[in-house]
Subunit: 246 residues, 2 copies
């Protein structure tokens, strides 16, 4: 698979971007680096003219191809590896990686998997609620004095690193084909229900331990088959627990 | 010298930028990566409000500190190492380096020298007339389909690479202190006059060979003392040639 085809498997997902100009600038950066498509979540009414001003007419095709979705779950459903971004390592959950490390991960997986780079709103960034979808979380290194990086600049740095990584990383190997986000989310839902039922999870705050569980599976990387096995085990435990409690 | 102090020795020089918004975005990127100052050449009337919109109020101090000059010669005069940027390797003269290589050069020289990163106008980029000031010329790798990178994105990529390089390159060594651009330009002017007088350079197009000579000295890197020695040799040859032709 050529390097250009590989970057085409990588998409930019913008969660609730506020400024149309930034989306235009993202389109230009993504096209410079040969990325696939752009998905915009929860922001359907961005001014088209402002977008085009910043994308330039040469990246207008990227704007035309933007997919708009209402929910992040929907946007990410058929991606197999999701890289989030945050400026605040304090509150968010890792594993945190540098753009260069994330790029190596993306490059080595992109010939077999669809990869999403997920960016939050300009003012607040991604919250834990969105970061829990991610297999790893990137923080862009900056001067301590001023850590707030423009959205399109953050996209450019990540795309640039990935562009270089696809040219230096061995992408010819048949790396594992990972489960899609929708499969993983189904599994997590089932596990969460089961673990709440057996009293492991607090029904008031089920996400508390689920984040650790998500983190573990994200680090490992599950195939579709393995997701099915885990779900089979959950079903079996459910059946057994039901039986015993009758 | 700390990494933060080192990046402070690196300045961004924008030659005839057309869009105030881009200058604002450059200020933000430069501040994110702890760079020194910004110099704007040949563009005094850029809209301040547009700049501030893109710099955000947190990088407003970078805008306040912008130095404006009429000529590039003036802007570069007290820099000792100048890195140019171009998208077109075809017409321009190298040596061409990647952003990462340029960053290593900058990081290893910045504790002893003042470094300028030189960027051209958004539409045309730098011409050879400006590139001849440069010790090396960077091209940002892109997809072949769309090579035109936004000005502030190009600045961000270079600053980001330099920021990382100052944290990984050994900058503690007393690298050579290089001659300032104004010293070099004085030397080139003198050499050019001498070489034209002795018939080596065509008076119609003296730059033809001078570019090769500039390239050689840029690669080597001259100290102030060496510039004085070269100028002394030129003066001596002039004197000798005058004498013989009396």
């Amino acid at each position: 698979m050529s390097a250009e085809n590989i970057t085409g498997n990588i998409s930019i997902v913008l969660f609730r971007p506020k400024h149309a100009g930034n989306v235009g600038a993202v389109a230009r950066a993504a096209k410079n680096m040969g990325m696939g498509k752009i998905i915009v979540v929860g922001a359907k009414d961005l001014d088209r003219e402002e977008m085009e001003q910043r994308s330039t007419h040469l990246a207008k095709d990227m704007l035309d191809a933007i997919q708009y979705t209402d929910t992040l779950r929907e946007a990410l459903s058929d991606f197999q590896y999701i890289i989030g971004t945050t400026a605040r390592t304090g509150r968010a959950r890792g594993p945190f990686v540098t753009p260069r490390e994330a790029a190596r991960k993306a490059a080595s997986r992109a010939s077999q998997n669809k990869i999403a780079l997920l960016f939050g709103p300009e003012d607040t960034g991604l919250a834990n609620e969105q970061l829990r979808f991610c297999h790893c979380v990137v923080t862009i290194p900056t001067s301590r004095e001023f850590t707030s990086v423009n959205l399109s600049h953050a996209v450019m740095i990540l795309c640039y690193e990935i562009f270089l990584a696809t040219r230096t990383t061995d992408t010819s190997s048949d790396g594992p084909r990972l489960a899609m986000s929708s499969e993983l989310e189904g599994m997590y839902r089932q596990m969460s229900e089961l673990l709440a039922r057996v009293g492991f999870l607090n029904r008031e705050n089920p996400e508390y331990w689920m984040l650790d569980i998500r983190r573990f599976f994200s680090r490992t990387g599950l195939s579709s088959r393995e997701v099915k096995i885990v779900r089979g085990i959950c079903r079996q435990i459910e059946w057994y627990a039901e039986k015993g409690n009758k």
